[in-house]
Every structure is written in structure tokens, then in C-alpha cells.
Amino acid sequence: MSDRFSAMLLRRADDALVLGHRLSEWTGHAPSLEEELALANLALDLIGQARALYALAAARGTGDDEDALAFLRSDREYTNLLLLELPNGDFAVTIARLFLYAAFADPFWRGLCASRDRDLAAIAAKAEKESAYHLRHSAEWLIRLGDGTAESHRRAQAALDHLWPYTGEMFEPEDDILVAADICPEPAGLRDAWNTMVDSVLEQATLTRPAEGWMQSGGRAGRHTEHLGHMLAVMQSVARSFPGAKW
């Protein structure tokens, strides 16, 4: 049971850390000072969520500490969604990815607030407030990009079309024993809420929902795109070059 619990925590922590790191890559490159700070704030929220989950996983059985879990695992040991490891692309891809994920993560965290595991429920209570803002911020931007200029509309639609095949992975089944024990919600149960949110925002953004088709998969099993290895090489280089370094 504790192995299953830790594995579930690592899936969710890896999601938060990988997206948090991607958003942090905007630092120094954002389109405006205001959005620079906004993206860094979002990144810090996500990295904070990852830390809390790694620390809980470490305390409940993995044996490693949170730094080892973040910095000393290879890409094959990461179990994040493929959607979150894709490169940032332009601002439209970054915003569309954040929106598609937040529209799932926010109800998922809300479900975790009712977890029978009280430590996890406490983490969720904090994270849900953060993910609610991630959803609002990305939705408002996506509406303005889609319903903005001809170029912003074209880029937003292209971003959606590019990311859409990666959205199915979010709804892959969570560990059935943990779901049955009311420790975490079943992702498939959140699909209706996600559809409603996505359709509502896409309509306001005058964007077209891409056709349903074949969906990418593999992240939860450690089979990643070529991009994660490069990202981890950068993210982990200091920790691997100077093991145990302190400052």
C-alpha cells in the first residue's frame, strides 16, 4: 500500500515539478514585466506543490529525500504527463498548455482535499487555491489570445491543435486500490468538468475544439518524449555535478 501511495504521489509531484520548471524557463524572456512575474509566481506555486508531495512520498516509504527524488532520478523514472514536458513554444503554447492542465488539476486537487489521507488532504487544500488561480489566469489569457488579433488567434489555435493529442493522458486511470480507499479521485470522473470548462473558454476565445483522435500515452510508465531528457539534464546538472552541495 505504501509503495502504491508513494507512486501516486510521485506521478502528481513529477507533473508539478516538470511544468514548474518549464514555466521557470520564461524568466528573463516573458513578453512583459507583469507576465514575467506572473509566470514565475505560477512556477513557484508548482515547485512548492512538488516539494510537499516529494517530502510526503519520502516520509512514507521511498527512502530518498525530496532532493534525491527531484534531482537524481532519470527520465525513465519520471512519471509525469507528456503534455507537461513539451517545450514552451511561443506564449500561446505556454498559455494553452497551462490552461488544459489547470482545467484538470484544479478539480483533481479539489478531489484530493477530501482524501482519507490527512497529510495529502492538507497539501491539496493549499494547492487547490493555487491551481484555481492558474486556471483563471490561463483562461483569461487564452480568451484574449483567441479573440485578439488575427495572428494571436492563429497562434492560439495552432497551440491547441498541437497540444490536443496529449490531453487524453490526464484521464488515464489512477491506482484502483487507492481510488477504492478514497485516497485519491479517479481522473476519468473529472472529464465532464474538464469538458465543460474547456468548451466554455474555447467558445469565449472563438477557438475551435480540435477533433477527438488518437491520444499520446506513456508518461505514466516512464516512456517520454525526447524533450524530458534534455530538460532534466539542465535541471539536474548542478545537483549531479556537486552531490550534497549546500549553500
Binding site: S32, E34, E35, L37, H137, W141, R144
Partner: protein, 94 residues
Amino acid sequence: MEARTPLWEVFIRSRNGLSHRHVGSVHAADTTLALQAARDVYTRRGEGLSIWVVPSAAITASDPADKAMLFEPAATKIYRHPTFYEVPDAVGHM
């Protein structure tokens, strides 16, 4: 850029303060994004419980050249400061 993202003045009501105070400004396309930008730029360390954003263009400011006319006449009217009155001890704190 400037035409599409005008300037907004940001006012924050702090935890312990009574009224909103001017803290700075942000560029944003509309009221919704201006509020979010103000939140992201000016409340990162728990500064606020409420935010106002006001289009900078909506603020009418006094002309610095009028400073002498507007403000100097008050300087010689020290009797407007309530420092000349002796308060009987029995009154206590006023």
C-alpha cells in the same frame, strides 16, 4: 504595445491598514488582466487583502507649477493645527 496595454494605477488595502494605498502601476489590456497583473506584481509577499486598479488616464492631477498658489497659503495659518488649546486633565485622551 503601449496603445494595446495602457497604464493602470494600483491601490492595495493591506492587512492592517484602513484604506487602499497607491503602490505603483502596471500595463494591461483591460480591467481583468490589470487586476491579475497587480496581484502578481504587488501582492507576492502577502501585502494585500483587496486591490483596486484605476486607468491612469482617469486621474486628474494638480499642476506642479501651481504648487505655490495651491499649497503655500496654508503654511502661514498655523492656528489650523489644534496645538493652541489646553485640554483640561479631566478630559483625558481626546
